[in-house]
Subunit: 354 residues, 3 copies
Amino acid sequence: MFLKNYWYVGAYGHEVGRTLLARTIVSEKIVFYRTEDGTPVAMENRCCHRRAPLSRGQLVGDDVECGYHGLTFDPSGACVRVPGQKKIPERARVRTYPVVERWRFIWIWMGDPALADPSLIPDHLYRYNEDPDWTAVTGYLHLKAHYQLLVDNLMDLSHETYLHMKTIGTVHVAETPLTKVERDDDGVTVTRWMLDRPPPPIYDKSGGFSERGETVDRWQIIRFEPPSHCCLDVGVATAGSGAPEGDRSKGISMRSLNALTPETEGSTHYFWTFPRDYKLDDGDTSDLHAKGFHNTFMEDVVMLEAQQEIIELDRGTPTVDINADGSTIPVRRLIQSLLDAEGAAKDPSRAAAE
Amino acid sequence: MFLKNYWYVGAYGHEVGRTLLARTIVSEKIVFYRTEDGTPVAMENRCCHRRAPLSRGQLVGDDVECGYHGLTFDPSGACVRVPGQKKIPERARVRTYPVVERWRFIWIWMGDPALADPSLIPDHLYRYNEDPDWTAVTGYLHLKAHYQLLVDNLMDLSHETYLHMKTIGTVHVAETPLTKVERDDDGVTVTRWMLDRPPPPIYDKSGGFSERGETVDRWQIIRFEPPSHCCLDVGVATAGSGAPEGDRSKGISMRSLNALTPETEGSTHYFWTFPRDYKLDDGDTSDLHAKGFHNTFMEDVVMLEAQQEIIELDRGTPTVDINADGSTIPVRRLIQSLLDAEGAAKDPSRAAAE
Amino acid sequence: MFLKNYWYVGAYGHEVGRTLLARTIVSEKIVFYRTEDGTPVAMENRCCHRRAPLSRGQLVGDDVECGYHGLTFDPSGACVRVPGQKKIPERARVRTYPVVERWRFIWIWMGDPALADPSLIPDHLYRYNEDPDWTAVTGYLHLKAHYQLLVDNLMDLSHETYLHMKTIGTVHVAETPLTKVERDDDGVTVTRWMLDRPPPPIYDKSGGFSERGETVDRWQIIRFEPPSHCCLDVGVATAGSGAPEGDRSKGISMRSLNALTPETEGSTHYFWTFPRDYKLDDGDTSDLHAKGFHNTFMEDVVMLEAQQEIIELDRGTPTVDINADGSTIPVRRLIQSLLDAEGAAKDPSRAAAE
């Protein structure tokens, strides 16, 4: 079960071009491409004639020609040509999906097209990917696990201390209680402040803190918005310089923007970007980040895939919550209530009964 | 569900010898071998004692000795030896299947042995494999798709224009309507004539048409007979020389004989031969055909396996028929009516009710 | 369905140390390790928090720290640390299993811990692994088949003549009827004597029989005890020297001790040892045995995995028993009656009804 009436990240813009890209999203098979003027298109990857995958066909101008018997579909999904006959059968069409290109991504709407309002794209979360005051490194990972395991992972950074011990981990994260957890109409925000600590290596050199003999105040502010966006505002500032109160002038920060798009019930497309607001033009820092975060996230992939494997075999033995789940439980509840609401919307009798 | 009371091609004759060949046919596990005098035998590949595969045993004269505990079965399937005891248990036997060797193939009857009449083997379709006036190249492919997808593929050659664009495709096939589709008591015949066209490359050099400045009349006459034989009579003759009326003296032709034997519900043994009536002793033409048709059929394999994958995930979205399906729908109907008839024959109460 | 209230061999002692060893036993995921003083521990391989596999964590002293969020469990399974909080949730613990190290093995009790009496370990079967009058070679094989297929295999050595024709097979085994089959309260014993025969190669050189122009009396005494121990007492003595009556002074013998631990319904851990009472310090004989028995057992693995594959596809066609099954059927019946008894013990209402 997936939320449908939402914008999902379907691909990076640079992945989609004048060849046909097959990708499964929320268990639906899609083919992506661009028309000659560059407009992205997302189409059902299944010919309505004999169910051949359209991605094995070819582009003819702005249309997709099936590679099996040549039926041709325009960007609206209408069949515009059937070889050997003049009349096009009335029902000959394939589904297309609303798409919008924004913040380096191709966004795709998986639900009712009438509801696909581009203003619902979470610009406030992803605008850093193209903001001139920020520089972003980007990556993609394929995860053989349910996307909610990755949501849990990103909402509860206490795992950094253990899973990422060798990369970004510090003992402080797990030992520091959450500062606050807030749920509002649009999502959940989890905040953790670690005050007056030694600067973590990943920030220290760029920020010059140790060099100046300074400790830091460190923040992790994690925002979840449905269907599955986990966007982190993380950074450090000279201890006592007022960062908790809002003055970040003595600090540096990054965003870790994670768009988790379910592929199937057991796999996830993991699109991650890492914009930073310092050393904007420094290629070495970009390289370091690109490699470092990839390696760190691979540690998550390995653990989450092992966790998924155990969950699939599980016999219903109960699990135990800990304080750190103050950040994951509200998100699980929000997703469940939205799934219920979508189910109710589809089934008015059920909504009435409730 | 498969048709059972039919002769299927189980193997090429050259595949079966004095070693044990394991093969699954219509979801039944079979072991093939030859007795010392060369007679082919097809036996259930499962010892009646502890279900070891007999193909892991060995031939002892004309008999198969199980490789686990040594029970031995003669070519009729009777157990003739149980190590360590004199009395053979009455029920100790394995099933054997009627087999006939003809037209390079070992034919196997998967249904009621009492009905296995060798005169039901479709000699008229396959005799070209051994006719001295013809030379045949042969091949085998394993397809991970239901055999009916391959039947559809061979009955509707309009796909040549798209799927085989780079090998044997020409735009003419898909654009030319079928000349006629005939169903009779024994099968379905689909005919397409393409008159006064440029000679396709595959025939041109051998027939010398372009050299003489000639165009050609081209035919594709496809015969389906159950359970799953698709035999094509294809060729070209000098345009206007009377081929449509039956005079092929100015032409050359090939047969494309396709015996599609279901392995399981999701896989197929594809035995194909290509007899031709010209350049009989020309090794280069044989090589060209063997490689060319293998490559062409591999394009089908790739597409059909992709189609199978989508069908297995399909949620019942309807499909749309086009004119070209005038050749596939009658065959699908014929197979279904024969499956119904076999079901009815097994269940007299049901037959009475209908 | 597996017997639970029994000691199973979980691992060789040498496999378990100060790293975490993941192993599935009777479909339960276990992690093995040793505390600092060398005591073996077997723990559920699933963190009670978010079901991460504990085997991906690390040892901290005698405790296991989960590699995901750092929950830490002591050798009793109690959670002794939750990062970031002082209070340990009451239900935070993982299951541990009684273990005993004996006869080179780590024995694990998969049922009710209150019943885990170490005196139930079958010392009389396995003591040869460490008896100074014996020298043992050891091995492990992973089998993708149900353990009862391997029990059948070891109880009925008539298969040696066929399956092991090229290694240890001799025609005599299958041709010689069982001498006796005895069932008692604790198991089943199958005895086969082959009198006055040429010495089998495996014993001949060590025993010097042919050299002295002697034939031998050969015995195979196979003991089954639940849950799945098949222990063979095999050997030869100079023919007529009184071995059948109990005088083995003119003979040599081996034990083939086979602990078959179910991994899942379709796979088995196969721990085998081969103690002998001759040439105790001869490395060449040990090498010969280690390689020879491995190769022989690999022949079993291949056959049993093929048999398992057929059984999984089987449509209920009946099987036929032969005389040699006098050794396998009583064992199958014993296991079934013990499974029924364990089921009854769990379900008193059912026991009352019977």
